[in-house]
Structure formats: C-alpha cells, structure tokens
Symmetry: C2
DNA sequence: CTCATAAATGAGACTTCTCTCAATAATGAG
DNA sequence: CTCATTATTGAGAGAAGTCTCATTTATGAG
C-alpha cells in the first residue's frame, strides 16, 4: 500500500535525508487516505514509526510538509508524462497521450490521484503546474490548424477539470477505461476537433493496457 | 454584505424560527468568506450577535448547520433557475438559459457561489442535486436530435464542472461575461452541437444584462 | 573503542476549539 | 400585570491537537 516517492533515490543518502523522506512518504500515504485537510502531525510521525518531536527537526509546520508532498507529486507526474511523449509530433496525439498518461498514473496510484484532485481545488499555483504540460501542445495544435480555441489559463483549467472529474469518478467507482476514453472525447470536442474524426483518433490512443 | 436567505419569509414567525434563521444566515456569510471547512461554531454565534451556547438549542453540531446552509442554497438556486425557464421549449435554449442563470446567480451572490463550489467538491449528493435541473433538458435534447451524448451522471458532472470552473474563475478574477459565453460554448461542444451553429445560439442567450 | 556531534524521544505545557449546564432574561397568554 | 414557559447566557470542563525541550540514543571519524 505504501509507496515511496521521496525515499526512491535516497536509499544511500545520510540518515537525515532518509528520515526526511520517510516523513514525506508517510504524509503522502495519509493525504491519500483522508485528504490534505485533516492529516495530523502526530499521525504522520506515528505512521512513519517515529516520535512526535522528530517532525520538528525537519519541518516547521503541517502546511510545509503538505505543500512539499503536493509539489513532489506534481513534478513526478510531469516527469512520467514527458517520458512517454518522446517522439510524438502531432499535437492531437500529444494531447491524447498526455491525458491518458495522466489519468492512468492517477488511477494506478490512488495516493497521487487524491493529491492531484485536492491540489486542483485549492491552489492556483498547483493548477498552473499541472496544466503546464498541456499549454505547449495546444499552441502546437493551433499552429498545425487542428484546434479552434482561445488558448489561455481558463481553457487549461477547463481541460484540467475534465481530467480531474474523470479521475475522481474512477477513484470513487473503480477504474473504467471507458470513462478515460470519454474524457478524451470531451477534450477533443472542447478543442474544436471535427466531430467525425474523434472516434478514430481515440481508438488508436486509449488501449486497454495500463502504463508501466 | 449580509444576505438573508433563511430569514426571508420568516420575519413574522416566532422567535424560535427567527433565531434559527439568524444562525443559518450567519453561517452562510462565514462560509462565503472562508469556505465550509474552517467555520467555527463560536464564530457563527458571535457573527449573529448571540452567545455561544445558543447554537446548541438549534443544531447538534457544525456539520448539521453547514449541510443545511448548502442544501438551502441549492434549493433556492434551483427555484430561481426554474423561474426563468417557464415557456422555453427548445432543449438547447433551455440548457443555455439554465447555465447562464446559474452562473449569473453565483456571481451576483458570491456567498452562494462559494458554497456551490465547495459542495461540488465534497459531496456526491449535492452534486446530483445541483445537476438535476440539467438531466431532463439533456433528455429532451436527445429526443429533439440536437445532442450526441451518453446521458449519465458522468456527463452531468463534466458539465457541472465546466460551470464550476467558470464561477470559480469569475469569483477569483472578477465578473466577465465573456467567460460565461465561453462556458456555454464549451458545454455545447461537449454535447456535440455542430460547431458552426454555436456562435449564433450563444449570442442570443448571453446578453450583457444580469439576472433580476 | 572513544567521543563529539547529530538525531530521536516523549512528557507535558499550551492552544484552540466544542459542548454542557445552572443561572438569568425575555415572552406572551390569560 | 403575572407567571409559567421558553430562550439566552457565558463560564468552565473536556477533547484534541501542536510544539518545546531536557534527556537519551545512535552515528561514524579517528
């Protein structure tokens, strides 16, 4: 159940780094279970197998660690998405690839999905971070003549929100590839892609295999 | 600044009803300012000009009053929207009318807008309540051959979420009729309305006059 | 192995609320 | 106006956390 996003590459780092990562991973776990609002410091330390006071050797307060958890996840998801996009040149393909990758990651790792959803509601900053990967692809699509849109943060928020609803629904009701396909459909409709072309485009890109 | 949704028709009711309504209106005000999570009971009573203990003559705990506030608003918005829809027969017109009315109400009365946004995130029940007015109109649109959709809660959530993003953006950045028009545009695109028809449809329905 | 340094510990002082209740005040029917 | 009923009051007990700090424990360079 426990993932170790922060421990990851730090196995051989000094004790200080390892304890810090243990606290972050513990916080991630708890945020996943109960949301960002209600996690208690005493829970984070207990769940990490540490004493209460240890927390204060590493973070000044609750907000600080919660923010680092969110940001760490956002960066990691961005990294994973980029990984799968190398060599994809067509803007529509890029949008579909990124969207399905994003949703797959969030569903495969519900801890992250929960954080993505909370962050999206609560901070404009995180929202910009999460939608940044889309902006360049939409710009490309405009240049390639695929889209009929006004490209600004409002549009990015609307698309991000389609993705978030898709993730939230699957987290609540169970994974369902069909909902991912429909999210892709809705996004292409929003972007003004010709209605008749959409089914074929999606069929190619949303295969019933999960990400690695 | 203070609205009196709950006091409204109760001016002549007994003292009990008036105090209860005062607490609800006070809670509404505070929820609007700081969200549903952080409102304290002691704040609600203080802001209503009552003593702390009075709260417990009317509600058992925080959740109870917060839920009543949300639900009261949802019902009132539904009522106001229905009011403006009498005699509108075409499904597309109905969807546009309801959408713009909803957004206008939430922007005109930011207290309500804030609650709508919070409720949407937090309870499936409230989400169903808020999207109920749409369901029948989408069914009508299917029968009239206007839409190309699968009509279920997922679609309703996606449309609701477009509206919520529109409201959130305007609450954060100031009222902007253009964002309302674009939300309508996005919704019609989502519903599969022919791209070429949309501008004209929207121009008729989103006038630069606010609701009554 | 030794020892200076760094890390971890957890009891408890503090803070910030919620909720109770005996005492007080207001209400309105007769 | 009277008085039983109903509503309000606010002090304080209790619950649930946060954060501090003197003390103990672990680490690893020499």
């Amino acid at each position: 159940m426990t993932v170790s996003l922060f421990q990851k590459a730090n196995q051989k780092a000094g004790k200080r780094e390892r304890t810090r990562a243990a606290l972050l991973d513990s916080a991630l776990d708890l945020v996943a279970q109960q949301g960002m609002e209600t996690v208690k410091i005493s829970e984070i330390t207990k769940h990490a197998g540490l004493a209460n006071g240890t927390f204060y050797n590493y973070f000044t307060d609750r907000d600080e660690i919660i923010w680092e958890v969110s940001y760490g996840i956002a960066k990691e998801i961005g990294r994973q998405i980029d990984e799968g996009m190398v060599g994809v040149d067509d803007a529509i393909e890029r949008v579909l690839t990124a969207t399905t990758a994003f949703i797959d990651i969030a569903i495969d790792q519900p801890e992250w999905g929960a954080v993505v959803i909370s962050s999206n509601h609560h901070t404009t900053e995180m929202r910009k971070d999460v939608t940044r990967f889309l902006r360049a692809d939409l710009q490309l699509g405009l240049e390639q003549g695929h889209f009929s849109i006004t490209l600004d943060q409002y549009l990015l928020d609307q698309i991000g929100s389609i993705i978030v609803v898709c993730i939230r629904t699957q987290l609540e009701e169970g994974a369902d590839l069909n909902l991912t396909r429909r999210a892709c459909d809705y996004i292409l409709r929003l972007l003004g892609v010709a209605h008749a072309d959409i089914p074929e485009l999606i069929a190619q890109h949303v295969q019933p295999t999960a990400t690695s």
